[in-house]
């Protein structure tokens, strides 16, 4: 029987150097795996692999040394633990995320919830080449948003609320970009300097800020053979529905314009970033 490597790869079976052995990539979203899933993964690695797993560079888990003949059995066994194969090849890849505001004190957005939503929306969607989403909760950028084809970074837009302020002066020092000035008991925020990090809010003892949590979205990042930093089109997106529409637009643009095997950055370079930006702004303002 001829081995259909493309189909196998689509289902997360990565060909190994060792003939007829596959490293099985699993579907992981936002870097979270349950204890039940872990137990099943361990069991399968023991029984069908060589007893170890590999944590990939993009938060997935791979079980190496899976034999071609065992594929169906392995899939069935994993399904018992709520585990399914992941993806590889020219399609939407694992959506990665840091722990975000659900766990991390620095987080500005619920990265995991958003990762799940994007995964449900786009999982394994066929495209001219790989397409990576990465979501990081704040400016600390633990998840390196800008190295993804589409990177999302959480932020907080702030407005001082005088009535609750005790003028302690903490925010002015908490701000790392020098955007906050206190003069005669009045606080002003320089919008040109503010990077939406939210440190002023998180440090404020009386929460004297009106806040909007939102997204800074970058496009066209890659960190492989070529290295390029994704760039934002809109400084701050406040609304999640709008964010999702912008993600839809970016993927559609890539699907319609990319040559096979061409990463998003190179499509943008070739077709024209201005053309893409126009589309994004239409959706944002529409």
């Amino acid at each position: 029987m001829a081995v259909d490597y493309a189909t196998l790869k689509k289902g997360g079976f990565m060909r190994q150097k060792q003939k007829n052995n596959f490293s099985l990539r699993l579907r992981v979203v936002g870097g979270n795996v349950t204890a039940v899933q872990l137990a099943k993964i361990a069991e399968v690695a023991e029984k069908y692999g060589d007893g170890h797993v590999h944590l990939t560079s993009r938060q997935s888990v791979e079980i190496p040394f899976i034999k071609l003949d065992d594929i169906d059995e392995v899939k069935a066994a994993l399904a018992e633990g709520g585990v399914e194969p992941g993806v590889c090849g020219p399609r939407v890849r694992t959506v990665t995320a840091c722990q975000g505001e659900a766990i991390c004190p620095s987080g500005c957005i619920d990265t995991y919830a958003l990762a799940k939503e994007l995964d449900e929306r786009y999982f394994a969607r066929e495209l001219p080449h790989k397409f990576k989403f990465g979501i990081t909760g704040c400016q600390n950028n633990c998840l390196k948003a800008e190295e993804n084809d589409l990177g999302i970074k959480g932020g907080i837009k702030v407005k001082w609320r005088e009535s609750d302020c005790i003028n302690c002066g903490v925010c002015e020092k908490a701000c790392r970009v020098g955007a906050i000035e206190i003069k005669d008991g009045k606080i002003s925020v320089d919008e040109a300097k503010c990077n939406f990090c939210g440190r002023c809010v998180k440090a404020c003892p009386t929460d004297a800020w009106d806040t909007v949590h939102g997204y800074i979205v970058s496009f066209g990042g890659l960190f492989g053979n070529s290295i390029s930093k994704g760039e934002a089109v809109i400084p701050f997106i406040e609304d999640k529905e709008k964010l999702l529409k912008i993600c839809d637009t970016a993927i559609e643009f890539f699907g319609e314009n990319a040559n096979p095997g061409e990463r998003f950055k190179f499509t943008l370079d070739r077709v024209g970033r201005d053309k893409f930006e126009k589309k994004i702004l239409e959706v944002y303002n529409g």
Binding site: I166, C168, G169, V170, K173, R176, R199, K202, C204, P205
Partner: protein, 83 residues
């Protein structure tokens, strides 16, 4: 407004340590106090003054004031909340 405006119960100087010991030293000093007592924490400009107030807030204590000592140090006035 100066330190004098607050009824300080204890002082701790964290200018001689670096992160994360800065916060630990302040936390230990707070643990010595009773609920409602006030601690003055002297810290360096830069990273300590950026981060220590927030860490103390996240522990549930109440920050009252950050005083610039005009010598490269700041004094944070904190009211202990809880035992």
């Amino acid at each position: 407004m100066a330190e004098i405006d607050f009824n300080i119960d204890d002082n701790v100087d964290i200018t001689d340590v670096v992160c994360p010991t800065t916060f630990v030293k302040a936390k230990v000093a707070l643990e010595e106090l009773d609920d409602g007592q006030i601690l003055a924490v002297k810290m360096n400009d830069g990273e300590p003054v950026q981060n220590v107030p927030r860490s103390i807030k996240e522990e549930g204590h109440q920050i009252l004031k950050l005083i610039n000592n005009e010598d490269g140090t700041y004094t944070l006035i904190v009211k202990k909340v809880g035992d």
